[in-house]
C-alpha cells in the first residue's frame, strides 16, 4: 500500500482566514486574502513581523480552525487505498501541540493518532507522496511532492500543483 503524507495548515485546516481576521481587527487593517497573492503577511507588514507571528502562539489559536473544503471526504476515501499520515511542522509553534492534536481527533477521527506526526524538518518523512502548501518541504523529499495552492504560493512554478481536494481525488483515484 503506497503512502501519502498530508500537511495540516492550509491543506486540511485553515489558519489563514482566522489569522488575517485577527490581525485586521487587532491592528485596524483591511488586508484581504487577495493581497496575500505571492507573498506573506510579514512581507506586507515587515514592521509587525513579531506581532504577526505571535498570533499563532496563542495556545488555542489552532483549536477551532475551519476544515478545508473536501479534505475530510477525500482523505476518508483515499484511506481505503493508501496509507495516510498527517504531517505538520508543529515544532515551529510548540504551544500549538495540544490544539492541533485535539483538532485532528475532532475532524479526522477516522485516522489513527499513530499516523499523526509533529515535526519540523519534513525531510525525515518517508512517504510516496507529500501534499503540502510549502514547497521548501519538497527539496529533500524522495517521493512526489504535490503543491496545494494557496495565495502565497500562487506564482510558484516547477511543482505538480493541485488547487483543491477534488483535484487530489482525481489524481489519486481516477
Amino acid at each position: 500500500m503506497k503512502r501519502i503524507a498530508i500537511d495540516m495548515d492550509d491543506v486540511i485546516a485553515n489558519p489563514l482566514s482566522k489569522h488575517l481576521a485577527l490581525f485586521n481587527k487587532t491592528y485596524n487593517e483591511n488586508i484581504t486574502i487577495q493581497d496575500l497573492e505571492g507573498k506573506y503577511l510579514t512581507e506586507i507588514r515587515p514592521n509587525l513581523k513579531e506581532e504577526i507571528m505571535n498570533i499563532y502562539t496563542e495556545p488555542t489559536f489552532f483549536r477551532d480552525l475551519d476544515v478545508i473544503e473536501g479534505s475530510q471526504e477525500v482523505i476518508k476515501e483515499l484511506s481505503q487505498h493508501y496509507e495516510i499520515f498527517i504531517v505538520t511542522a508543529a515544532m515551529e509553534i510548540p504551544p500549538s501541540f495540544t490544539s492541533k492534536y485535539e483538532w485532528l481527533k475532532d475532524h479526522f477521527n477516522f485516522l489513527n493518532e499513530r499516523n499523526f506526526v509533529f515535526c519540523g524538518d519534513k525531510s525525515i518523512i518517508k512517504a510516496d507522496y507529500l501534499i503540502d502548501d510549502n514547497s521548501r518541504h519538497f527539496k529533500r523529499f524522495d517521493g512526489q511532492g504535490i503543491l496545494f495552492t494557496n495565495p502565497y504560493n500562487i506564482y510558484e512554478t516547477g511543482y505538480f500543483r493541485v488547487d483543491n481536494w477534488q483535484e487530489v481525488k482525481d489524481y489519486f483515484l481516477k
Copy 2:
C-alpha cells in the same frame, strides 16, 4: 551526511526509574528494576494495567526525567558527523507533548528543534539508523535498527544491540 534517528524514552531520557518509584510508592509495592527483566510492569501486575499507564499521563511526568548516562556527550559528538533526529512515539501520550519538548530544549539544546519528531508509527521515519529500545519500530524500518538495552528487552535476539552510549560511540565513531 548519514542520518541517525534516536528514540527518547529509555534511550536518552529515563522514565523507567521514576515510573517504578511512583508505582511502588502509590501501591505500596517493592518491585525492582531486576523484576522487569524480560517483561513490562503491566505483565507483572495486569490487574493494575490502567493505573500503571495513567502514571504516564500526568502532564509533568516527562518534564524532570534523568538523562541517560553518556547520551548528551555522545550525541553532541555524533552530531558533528551525522544528521541527528530525536524521534519519540509521543502520540501515545498526548499530555506529554509540552514536557517532552521542554525537556529536549533543556538537555539537548545543541540540537535544533526542527530535528525533533513526535509521532506514533515510526515507519514514517526516513533515516539510515534508528536507535530504539523497542524492536517493534524496526519491523518496517528500512535502515539499520540498533536495539538499546533495557530490562524488558534483555532477552530479545535477532537485533544489533548496544548496552550503553559508549557502545553507540564505538559503533559510529571508531
